[in-house]
Amino acid sequence: MKYGPLIFFGIFLTLAASWCGLVLMPQIQIGRQGAVRIEETGEFYPAARSGVAQQGFEIYRANGCIYCHSQQVRMEGFGADILRNWGQRRTVARDYLNDKPVMLGTMRTGPDLANIGVRQTSAEWHATHLYNPRIPSKGSIMPPFPFLFEKRKIGSHPSADALKLSGEFAPEPGYEIVPKPEGKALVQYLLSLKANTPLPEAK
């Protein structure tokens, strides 16, 4: 085997073939999917994420939450995602149109979050859980995110969104733990994660 050009040709061809198959074809098929109008509610789905929730998306990306949490619900009968109440239906391509990057995730050290906004609607629970996951869910191995919160001296009266902490988690008297804007944004993003809009292809 002495011929270089043949090798270049082969190398280029194989990569070009797989590029066509795994990148070009999906782009042609579902690359230009648009939002669809839902009959009952009349709005378009997926709606663009609100400003605060979008900032929360950036915090979610920056802190690498995808390395333990997935955001995809698998179909009934393939894994127990729906039986575990992680979603009312499987997630499809249209659910992720506004995500840049798409946060599918490949590990479930923590539960799936595609439908967390429906399953856990209490912002206060999310804030406490993010501050120190061992407070609401004992035994959790999720890392704490205290840098999304700040310890402040209580002013005239405790602020509205101060965390209700007790026991060894509470700050010393006269101080309170209040979420920073990043913390609030991440909570809003988690609350915005809803994948329960009925879609034709998601039966």
């Binding site: 579902i30 009968g77 575990r84 399953r119 004992k138 007790s166």
Partner: protein, 226 residues
């Protein structure tokens, strides 16, 4: 550095499979250029062929007609989609599973709640009331403001589950909590019908937000049958 002839001829070479027997034992022996090349082991060729054949079949069978919106590989390609018969679900088991996924997050898996924050459910007078009417309302539209449970005070806002859980799911959870064996509860179970009835009756209450203790105490424990 002369070829090392002191090295004994190494017996290691396997029986040549059509390989030109290059005289490795006598380095002086020149290697004749050979025309033939070692043929592929036959079993590898048949294995590769069989694999290709299986690949084609699998690709055709499970590609859902190469459609853009077919996510279930069993659809379209062939009629028999994997039908998983919906077994008759035992409400207690469904209730336990749903409790673990939703309610346990605040009331804790052991039902003891968190002192000062989330009220306990074990032996709570609200849970073991003779009729489920108040408990179903709490699960549907949640409770806020000061409340006394087993002697200790709580003042927190609970999350409503009206839009998240179906009647059957709420009935399963309430049945599970009211008849939890480990906690020694054996109150009356609840059917989906009762939940649906209360859900319809309190439709106008839900926009006004969660119940308060005084409103709940005004409602009789047993739901008056229509």
């Amino acid at each position: 550095m002369k070829p090392d002839s002191s090295q004994p001829a190494s017996p290691g070479l396997p029986p040549p499979t059509g390989v030109a027997d290059f005289a490795c034992n006598d380095p002086r022996e020149p290697i004749e250029p050979t025309e033939d090349y070692p043929s592929l082991p036959l079993w590898l060729v048949t294995f590769a062929g069989a694999l290709m054949f299986w690949g084609g079949i699998y690709l055709q069978r499970y590609s859902g007609g190469y459609a853009a919106t077919t996510y279930d590989e069993n659809a379209l390609g062939s009629g028999l989609a994997k039908t998983n018969a919906v077994a008759q679900i035992d409400p207690y088991a469904l209730g336990r599973r749903l409790f673990a996924d939703t309610c346990a997050k605040c009331h804790q898996p052991d039902g003891q709640g968190v002192p000062g924050q989330y009220p306990p459910l074990v032996n709570s007078e609200w849970v073991l009331a003779s009729g489920p009417a108040r408990m179903i309302r709490i699960v549907l539209d949640a409770l806020q403001g000061p409340v006394k449970v087993k002697g200790s005070d709580f003042n927190n806002t609970m999350t409503p589950w009206r839009d998240t859980l179906t009647d059957q799911q709420i009935a399963a959870i309430v049945t599970y909590v009211r008849t939890q064996k480990d906690w020694g509860h054996n109150a009356s179970p609840v059917t989906a019908g009762e939940v649906a009835q209360i859900r319809a009756k309190t439709r106008n209450h839900s926009p006004a937000g969660p119940w308060t203790v005084s409103e709940l105490l005004a409602i009789p424990e047993h739901e008056p049958q229509p």
